[in-house]
Amino acid sequence: MGAAQCKGAGRRRSASRPLRKDSRNCVIQMADTTTVEPVTIGRPLRVTAMHTGVAAAVLAVAAGAFFEVRPPEAYGLCMACHGRDLVNWTLNAGLGTHLAVAPASLVFPVLTTIGVFGGALLAAVLRREFRWWMPERPVPSFAYGAIVMNCALIAGGCSIRLLLRSAAGETAGLMGFAGMVAGVVAGTYWLRWSASR
């Protein structure tokens, strides 16, 4: 596997460049390329984030429009709400509780979370990218998961569905998406500040 598989890798053969890292983690090259061969880490990415974004939008709208993932509107894709439906439906069926589920999940729950997990597992195993990583901080991660789920259910959607609701023309969804962007920017500055302290 050579650097030639990386887009634009040929241009970077010129010497007297500082140590640089491709934005997609393809090539790390030393300044003096006359003696050091470029090292390729991982495979070049063929599916870009833009492809995934377009596919996700088409699938999300199609799920709501043609595959009965409604009501509520713009419910085609949401990790938080669909995960909530799956957990609550299972608990209701198994333990006889009466936790809330969306109307779309009354008869049988939507299985997006299982699908995403399975699809990603398939991709990771096929491309030999699966390996166990030790937990760096399992307890904070657990807390983050619980907080994100609660905030998402208060807002009525995770980051995906907030944008989907905005695209469907819902004012509250647009405001929520703006709030999410503000939260991401604030969190990023907080991370940078705490790292530089």
Partner: protein
């Protein structure tokens, strides 16, 4: 039943693509703020724009008419904004949006598995504790 099978298939396709592309709906904004990298941000913009075009197209293609969007009162909007802010802020701390965490967990990252445990536990927590508490405070 249609919805369950459809979402399982759609989720599978999406999970595969997301694993290949490292797609994250929060990481795009984070990367842009930190290092002016637009790779993930373009995915986010593509999702929003495509959905914006696809909703009217689906209606033209014969999808059942959408229920009228309920007029949101001020309280709903405030809750949505506050919840959205929390989703964004904590997702950055957790290193990725919920979908990215599912993908990472499927790749074997154990802290993401802990995240998922908290995620699904949080759903029960919300309906047992958070929602009744919110109702009591806001009533």
């Amino acid at each position: 039943m249609t919805a369950a099978v459809a979402t399982l298939v759609i989720g599978g396709i999406l999970g595969y693509l997301a694993q290949r592309s490292r797609m994250c709906f929060v990481g795009g904004i984070r990367d842009f703020v930190l290092i002016r990298d637009t790779y993930l941000l373009r995915g986010l913009a593509a999702f929003g724009l495509t959905a914006w075009v696809a909703f009217p197209l689906a209606a033209v293609a014969g999808a059942p008419a959408a229920a009228p969007l309920d007029a949101a009162d001020a309280l709903t909007i405030v809750l949505t904004v506050v919840g959205g802010f929390g989703v964004g802020y904590v997702s950055v701390l957790a290193n990725g949006c919920p979908m990215r965490q599912h993908v990472l967990a499927a790749q074997g990252v154990k802290s993401s598995l802990a995240y998922l445990a908290g995620f699904f536990g949080g759903a029960v927590l919300f309906h047992m504790v958070t929602a009744p508490l919110l109702f009591r405070i806001l009533e």
